[in-house]
């Protein structure tokens, strides 16, 4: 089933509709897909995310989540229940001083009975591996841990879609890995549709599909490997290859017969292989 559908969506932060942040985006995301949205600053990728859960309403065109139109105010609540969103700054999305109270915030808002909230907190904290910090305070956690709590806060609403709007941008490499592990597991094990907005190319490799945005338009769309194979085109959008893929390309240019690789492991294997042949 189609989880998210954009039909020629235009959006502008200005009232007269000039300087559009999104300029005619049409795309479709299937349920269970793991989609990475790439693009440089100001390419419209965060706007795209906010349009999905009705934080923004399109200027023209239509956004549908599980068939519900986001411009229909009566559906706003139902759409947000289905499409949870994690933001960039972990400090700015926590409402309570105690982890379990913060996770409870979402379920409380949608009127879940008390006993059920307890179960949902258990489920959400287990899913992100933070059960032992249940009674702790966010101020004492690391960035990665705080962001996992934010993910738990969204999970407790039991959404079908998880949107991560540059949620790893402010984290150190370790925190980034923690968050990515959780997100990948949610996608593989719980069948969650994931829309990951990022400017880290390495993260996009873990997705099933990558969408590249430039000046409010979708300019590339396909499997991450396909996208990264078109490195010259990527460069025109000011995007770089994942580190391993970049090293691989440079080696090839220097005349080493290495096969295409995207991750460090693939690259290492490729180099070994070519050395053995030589």
């Amino acid at each position: 089933m189609e989880a998210v559908k954009f039909e020629n969506v235009k959006f502008s932060y200005r009232e007269d509709g000039k300087d559009p942040a999104l300029n005619g985006v049409t795309l479709c995301i299937e349920e269970g897909q793991f989609v990475a949205v790439l693009g440089m600053n100001g390419s419209g990728k965060s706007t795209l995310a906010k349009l999905i859960n009705a934080l923004l309403i399109p200027f023209s065109g239509k956004v549908e989540v599980f068939g519900m139109d986001t411009s229909d105010e009566k559906k706003t609540f139902e759409i947000r229940k289905n499409a949870g969103m994690v933001f960039q700054n972990p400090d700015n999305q926590t409402v309570a001083s105690i982890v379990e109270d913060d996770v409870a915030f979402g379920p409380e808002n949608i009127g879940v009975p008390r006993e059920e909230i307890g179960k949902r907190i258990d489920f959400a904290l287990d899913a992100v591996g933070m059960q032992e910090f249940r009674k702790s305070t966010p101020a004492r956690l690391s960035g990665g841990q705080k962001q996992r709590i934010a993910i738990a806060g969204v999970l407790a609403i039991l959404p079908k879609i998880m949107i991560l709007d540059e949620s790893t941008a402010m984290l150190d490499p370790r925190g980034r890995r923690e968050v990515m592990d959780v997100v990948r597991r949610l996608n593989r094990e719980k069948g969650m549709t994931v829309i990951l907005i990022t400017h880290f190319m390495d993260e996009a490799l873990q997705a099933d599909r990558a969408i590249v945005m430039h000046r409010g338009e979708v300019v590339m769309d396909g499997a991450p490997e396909e996208i990264f194979a078109r490195s010259d085109e990527l460069e025109t959008y000011n995007l770089t290859l994942p580190r391993a893929a970049y090293v691989c390309k440079k080696l090839q240019e220097a005349g080493m017969p290495v096969r295409n690789a995207f991750t460090a492991e693939e690259l290492a294997e490729g180099i070994c292989e070519s050395l053995r042949k030589a």
Binding site: N92, V95, S97, D101, P107, G111, P138
Partner: protein, 282 residues
């Protein structure tokens, strides 16, 4: 250190008082303050002191820890006491000890000073025990629950409680931010340590402006995050935390009712605070 503001001066321990319902504790502190001001003589205050000692023992908080919290307001207590000593006028010429122009010191003034200082001291002790044994979070829960009846006159109880808990949540974040901005301004040659009061206050402006701007940006982010988590006000909202009134709370309230009765009894049978003067002066 400032990072732990979320816990205030909470002293973690497992005790009778720690386990009490925050609502009961708030009501008890108010009743305790009433008892302090009901007492008309030193015997009444002695009863209050005995009660306080009992509570500190039950709370398993070291006496030193409680006294340390009072130290901060000691200056205020001494200041008020001294003002009272000089400006309290006596009705009886016999009781005047020393006089210079418009300043007089009388027996009454000394008694009054001691009485006032003791009252203030007990007041601070009582509220300190509340904050030592209750986390700010459960205090907020308690206040919200106690204010619930005000919903009838459309007072926004839930909103007020949410504002309080978000404020608590953001204290450590904004403290961190302030320290960062101060460091950044120092790195650019800002001087916060020298000069008079006015100069120092002016030096804080380049700290406060960026802090305010960032606070607004955070507020906007938080608003989006709350919207995304389906927040739509108090309507149709459930509450996960449940406060339960137990035998401990009942016992506490009964003990305090006993204290108030005792103080009233002592008031009736032992007269006012100035009666002690009779022991020294005819």
């Amino acid at each position: 250190m400032l990072n732990d503001v979320a816990f205030g001066q909470y002293y973690p321990a497992k005790s009778f008082v720690h386990n009490m319902d925050p609502r009961a504790k708030i009501v008890l502190v108010i009743a305790f303050i009433v008892a302090i001001f009901l007492a008309k003589n030193f015997l009444g205050l002695a009863a209050v002191i005995l009660f306080l000692i009992l509570v500190v023992i039950l709370a398993r908080v070291p006496f030193g820890r409680v006294l340390r919290s009072v130290k901060m307001v000691l200056f205020l207590i001494i200041f008020t006491a001294i003002l009272n000593l000089f400006f309290y006028s006596s009705n009886s010429e016999l009781h005047i000890l020393w006089q210079w122009k418009f300043i007089t010191i009388s027996w009454e003034a000394i008694i009054n000073m001691l009485f006032l200082a003791l009252r203030l001291f007990l007041l601070v002790m009582g509220t300190t025990i509340l904050t030592l044994t209750t986390t700010p979070v459960s205090l907020t829960d308690g206040i919200e629950s106690l204010l619930t009846p005000l919903k009838w006159i459309r007072f926004p109880v839930h909103e007020l409680a949410l504002i309080m808990s978000i404020a608590l949540r953001f204290i450590p974040i904004l403290t961190d931010e302030t320290n960062r901005i101060i460091a950044a301004q120092k790195a650019r040659g800002a001087d916060f340590e020298t000069g008079g009061l006015i100069k120092r206050a002016k030096a804080m402006i380049p700290v406060l402006v960026p802090l305010l701007v960032s606070a607004f940006r955070r507020a906007e982010d938080l608003g989006d995050a709350m919207d995304a988590r389906c927040y739509s006000g108090a309507k149709g909202r459930t509450k996960y935390k449940k406060l339960t009134f137990t035998w401990r709370d009942l016992l506490g309230l009964l003990l305090l009712a006993g204290l108030i009765t005792g103080v009233v009894f002592l008031n009736i049978y032992f007269g006012g605070k100035f009666d002690v003067i009779g022991w020294f002066v005819a």
